[in-house]
């Protein structure tokens, strides 16, 4: 603990664990990282307890990487604790940056969610009796929030999950003391189309007569997906993943979030997608757009809590 190396912590809030796996995906590079820093807290991987981090001096961590969004009072408490102990806080992955997939829960109220998900089973912040013990679960907030809506964030690492390359570059910048201005999203600041291998096949003028989903149509693996009527959000999404999904013949669903010039990812993606729909009058356009079954779920898949209306 007194090696003089940078002290680093990892924590997960409301998340699936994919971000943790991304760190492990650094493979042998992880050994270099482990040699260069002291990992002092990482509940997913190492056996540290909350009391251990509480015992540390405030601002004694060089950096805390926090993934997941804030759904419960426990996650809020941990986000505040990490913020207090760390000099730099990195919002790690889509959920921490934008609210994430489960942020779509903000389309419903808390009671409606409980009714559907729990019925009369164990409910958050109610004392339940289980095997003779009293169980007190953390409070469940009305809304999902991104980490930056609870504590001040120094850097954002985008992606669901972030790629190992993006994570590796962030760690290298941290260790080399070459981090950019605070508040920066640590990925290139241009649209994914710019680094898409199918860029050349995107037509100059594009009109879509029928929107399709990947399971409804054979998908050509060379041609621009949007030109095939597939809802690819690459034009509105920040680059940095090197078009992983497109290379697997699947449309981009926007997990890297917006570029720095955009205040609302969904609205901007909508602007681009809708204006491609064929039709000159409301009936024609409505007919084409009807093939998009769930516009809100598509456009705000990762970013509803961080959107202008925040659900």
């Amino acid at each position: 603990m007194t090696s003089g190396k940078p002290r680093v912590a990892f924590y997960w809030c409301a998340s699936c664990g994919g971000c943790e796996v991304t760190v492990l995906d650094l493979e042998e590079k992880l050994l270099d990282v482990a040699a260069a820093v002291d990992i002092v807290f990482w509940p997913a991987v190492l056996d540290f307890k909350k009391a251990d981090i509480e015992a540390m001096a405030d601002r004694s961590l060089t950096a805390a990487f926090v993934n997941g969004s804030v759904r419960t009072s426990e996650q809020e408490e941990m986000a505040l604790l990490m913020r207090r102990k760390a000099q730099l806080l990195f919002a790690f992955g889509s959920c921490a940056q934008l609210g994430g997939v489960h942020g779509l829960a903000n389309l419903s109220g808390k009671e409606a969610l409980f009714q559907t998900a729990y019925w009369d089973a164990v409910r958050p912040r109610t004392i339940s009796r289980a095997d003779g013990f009293l169980l007190d679960l953390p409070d469940f907030f009305d809304r999902v929030r991104a980490i930056g809506q609870v504590v001040e964030v120094d850097y954002y690492i985008p992606g669901c999950p972030p790629t190992s390359k993006i994570v590796g570059q962030a760690l290298e910048a941290l260790l080399a003391g070459k981090l950019p201005e605070r508040g920066t999203v640590l990925a290139p600041d241009h649209a994914l189309c710019d680094e898409c291998p199918r860029k050349e096949t995107k037509p100059e003028k594009l009109t879509i007569k029928q929107f399709r989903r990947p399971h409804q149509t054979p998908v050509d693996d060379k041609e621009c997906l949007l030109a095939q009527g597939l809802l690819c959000l690459g034009a509105a999404t920040r680059a940095g993943c090197e078009a992983l999904c497109v290379r697997a013949n699947m449309p981009c669903n926007g997990c890297f979030g917006p570029t720095s010039r955009v205040s609302d990812f969904g609205a901007k993606a909508l602007s681009g997608i809708a204006s491609l729909a064929a039709g000159e009058n409301a009936d024609e356009v409505d007919r084409v757009l009807a093939d998009i079954a769930d516009p809100t779920g598509l456009l705000y898949r990762y970013s509803l809590p961080a959107s202008l209306l925040r659900g």
Partner: protein, 147 residues
């Protein structure tokens, strides 16, 4: 509903048709509901959906977009793009709990001052009946300040 409630409408009017129509309504001394704050844009196609969301996020009770009639767009198809975005955005707004009456697109040519009057009066009346926009889901908690 608060007493004497008056809805706030943010109106985006295109430079070539609807803004001129509003001008005509003014020079013709037509009287109509004063609820709209008009923002002049070069074309209804310039209205980024982010503008609409920002208006609602900052407390607008309604958003109105006014453009040239189909076929009359100064930039050929800007109004057509506005229509496509409007139709998709309407569905998203419904999902986040914003009633249909609060978001409206109208084609109003430079000669239709009376149409500006009719639309403004109608929208203001509908929003007045609807009342202030409610936060439909949950309540915002004040942001905690990190220690």
């Amino acid at each position: 509903m608060p007493e004497n409630y008056e809805p706030k409408i943010v109106a985006f009017f295109c430079n070539w048709c609807t803004y001129l129509a509003a001008d005509l309504a003014g020079t013709s001394r037509m009287k109509y509901a004063p609820n709209a704050r008009v923002v002049r844009v070069m074309c209804s196609g310039r209205v980024d959906p982010q503008f609409v969301l920002a208006a609602f996020a900052h407390g607008a009770d309604g958003v109105l977009i006014g453009g040239c009639h189909p076929g009359d767009c100064h930039y050929q198809e800007g109004n057509c793009k506005a229509l496509r975005r409007y139709l998709m955005l309407k569905r998203v707004l419904k999902d986040v709990g914003i009633e249909e009456e609060r978001f409206r697109l109208e084609w109003i040519s430079a000669a239709e001052g009376d149409r500006v009057r009719a639309v403004m009066n109608d929208m203001a009346a509908k929003l007045r009946a609807l009342g202030p926009r409610r936060v439909v889901r949950g309540t915002d908690r004040p942001a905690e300040v990190a220690a």
